[in-house]
């Protein structure tokens, strides 16, 4: 008969079972921790968390970045002397003392915001105050290394780091969705942007213009390489001083652009075969349409060939050419070219074109030379790019792309070729001579428009000048469009402030500086170049 286990033996067995179970549990837990979860992430963030991705230009140069700063909060109930604390904190941070006093006195709020985006220098000053109850909350501040040069285009963010204007707002989704700190690459070329902004600022100062702007665009991809608008503002200062404005005149405003609009009238004439370049038109001293008389801006010969109507920018000749197609056809053509609708890009700023509700004969004549219709410069540039890029629709973009984005054929390729020849003729033999750059075969058109004032009357002696340029004109890759609002004549120009004196040389200087950077071949014969010794 087997021995029956005693009480102690049973207890020992029970204890042993518990021990084995406990060890088994510990063993299982060890296996779980070491094998099952051992290769996982530690749970700690190993990268910098920023709310917004960097914005960089097409070459990877930094345009905008979140920098770590701190928001300063206070717990006023721990202050011995709240008024003194308010005074000291206001002096150290620049915060409004009155607001702090009110905030500290209000017992409902346990925390009071002292200052946002405190820099290390301010943080150091605050720490030296030795006040209790202060807390620095990590935050970020959007910083723009190039400051004013690209302020209007990039826009800014609000204190909560949400884009409120420009590409900061337009590319918000991409900026927020960027993974692992990958930057959002824009189409901007900072070198081109600087040159454009620099030249426009210099020309604006020379001629005392109220405002000025310009853009450079690739006519095949639609990429906007640069866009400048003056006056500008300091995006890092977050405050406007003097004449500063956040308004981007190239996208947000619409203008009667004047004679530069004639390129569409000629393109329409080529499309409709309503004239040929050697056809002679009567110009005379005025062209009567009903009770209105259209005059030339200056004395013109009694007759002009069609090509010289564009080269010398004859209003009367252009009006006659447009009237051959008629108002209905003209409106249809301008609609087809997209000029009557705002251009849709990544920029949130855009504006509806303005045109007469009653598109009659006189309207047809004036719209032919760019008066009576207002479009945004960006809208104009997009449609003008179609004129020179082979006749295909192009939508501007501010995101880098390598693809040829030309879309539907809006005008015949032959029309585009004829227009390119004409635009070159304007620069070699017409009003655009000052835009010529040796070796780069610039083609273009001047525009000097009267400026409408209050009550629909034009402001006496006020002009808005512009120049549209494409280069190299035999097979254009880039267009430059510059605009000056109310420039004033200077002694060097004989008191004239027309586009040929103000906008054309500006475009020429921009092209002469950016063309080598963009790799556009210089067609100057080698014999005319001065070679350096190797």
């Amino acid at each position: 008969m087997a021995d029956v286990p005693g009480v102690f033996q049973r207890r020992i067995v029970i204890g042993a079972v518990f021990c084995v179970a406990a060890f088994a549990l510990v063993g299982l837990r060890l296996v779980d921790v070491s094998l099952m979860r051992g290769n996982g992430r530690s749970g700690f963030e190993d990268h910098v968390v920023t709310a917004r991705a960097d914005l960089v230009d097409r070459n990877g140069e930094l345009l905008a970045r979140d920098l770590p700063v701190k928001d300063l909060y206070a717990r006023p109930h721990v202050f011995w002397n709240k008024d003194e604390a308010a005074h000291d904190l206001a002096a150290a941070t620049g915060a409004e003392e009155g607001r702090l006093r009110v905030g500290f006195a209000n017992a409902k709020h346990p925390y009071v915001l002292i200052a946002r985006q405190v820099t290390p220098a301010i943080e150091s000053r605050v720490m030296h105050l030795g006040l209790p109850g202060l807390e620095f909350e990590p935050s970020v501040k959007r910083y723009y290394p190039d400051g004013r040069n690209i302020a209007q285009l990039l826009g800014v963010t609000d204190p909560d780091n949400n884009g409120v204007s420009g590409l900061e707002m337009g590319l918000q989704d991409r900026i927020r969705a960027a993974d692992d700190g990958a930057p959002v690459t824009t189409s901007i070329d900072m070198r081109v942007q600087y040159i454009l902004a620099h030249e426009i600022a210099a020309q604006r100062q020379t001629f005392g213009a109220h405002a000025a702007g310009g853009l450079v665009m690739d006519v095949r991809t639609g990429e906007v390489l640069a866009m400048a608008s003056l006056p500008d503002f300091d995006p890092n200062g977050r405050s406007l001083t003097g004449e500063d404005t956040t308004r981007n005149i190239m996208a947000q405003d619409v203008y009667e652009l004047g004679s530069v609009f004639k390129i569409f009238s000629f393109a329409l004439a080529f499309e409709d075969h309503t004239m040929h370049l050697d056809e002679i038109f009567q110009i005379g001293q005025g062209y009567k349409i009903g009770k209105y008389t259209i005059h030339e801006a200056e004395h013109m010969p009694a007759t002009l060939a069609a090509r010289d109507i564009l080269a010398q920018s004859s209003n009367i000749g252009t009006a006659q050419i447009a009237l051959r197609s008629g108002g209905v056809r003209q409106k249809q053509f301008l609609t087809h070219m997209g000029l009557l609708t705002p251009v849709q890009t990544e920029l949130p700023e855009h504006r509806q074109s303005l045109y007469p509700a009653n598109w009659g004969t006189i309207e047809t004549a004036t719209i032919a030379f760019g008066q009576g219709i207002s479009v945004s410069p960006l809208r104009f540039a997009a449609s003008a790019a179609t004129i020179v890029n082979g006749g295909r629709q192009i939508t501007p973009t501010f995101v880098k792309t390598d693809a040829d984005r030309r879309g539907a054929q809006l005008i015949k390729p032959e029309t585009s070729q004829q227009m390119r020849d004409l635009l070159r003729y304007v620069v070699t033999d017409g009003t655009g001579k000052n835009a010529n750059v040796e070796g780069y075969d610039v083609g273009g058109k001047t525009g000097s428009a009267q400026v409408p004032g209050e009550h629909g009357r034009y402001i006496p002696h006020a002009l808005r000048t512009s120049f549209f340029a494409a280069f190299p004109i035999e097979n254009p890759r880039y267009i430059v469009f510059v605009l000056m609002d109310q420039p004033h004549g200077i002694k060097a120009t004989g008191g004239f402030a027309l586009a040929g004196y103000t906008a054309a040389p500006l475009a020429g200087r921009v092209i002469s500086r950016i063309a080598p950077l963009l790799g556009v071949p210089n067609t100057t014969p080698p014999a005319q170049l001065t070679g350096g010794n190797s």
Partner: protein, 140 residues
Amino acid sequence: MIRVLNFFCVALMGLSILALYHVSEHTRVTQMELTRVNRDIRETRNSIGVLQTEWAHVAGPARIQELAQSHGMTDTVSAQLSSFDLLPRRGDAPLNNSPLRNASAQVPQSSAAPSSMAPSSMAMVRPTLSPQPISDRSGF
């Protein structure tokens, strides 16, 4: 036998407790170290970010131009040779003492700068519109 086994189990349990404590403490210390390293990495990356931003500011075209001008340098118009067709063939290359020419050349300011720079040429330009308002068009 049971006593030996019992003693062994108790001893093993004691040793396991010590080992677990050691592992737990080691984990805590390592975790603190990891936190510190992560914080250092974050601060270093932030510093790198700030330095990169500062570099982008000081190496920007505006500042470079400002520095260049302060050292007396002026804008130089540059040009490229347009195509290989314009280069001399090997057999035609001047192998005597003629100087070799760089592929990138500088164009004389007078010939390459836009004619707009010359006030004399401005007088040749015909304006498109006069500053005076055009009559009979004020209604548009």
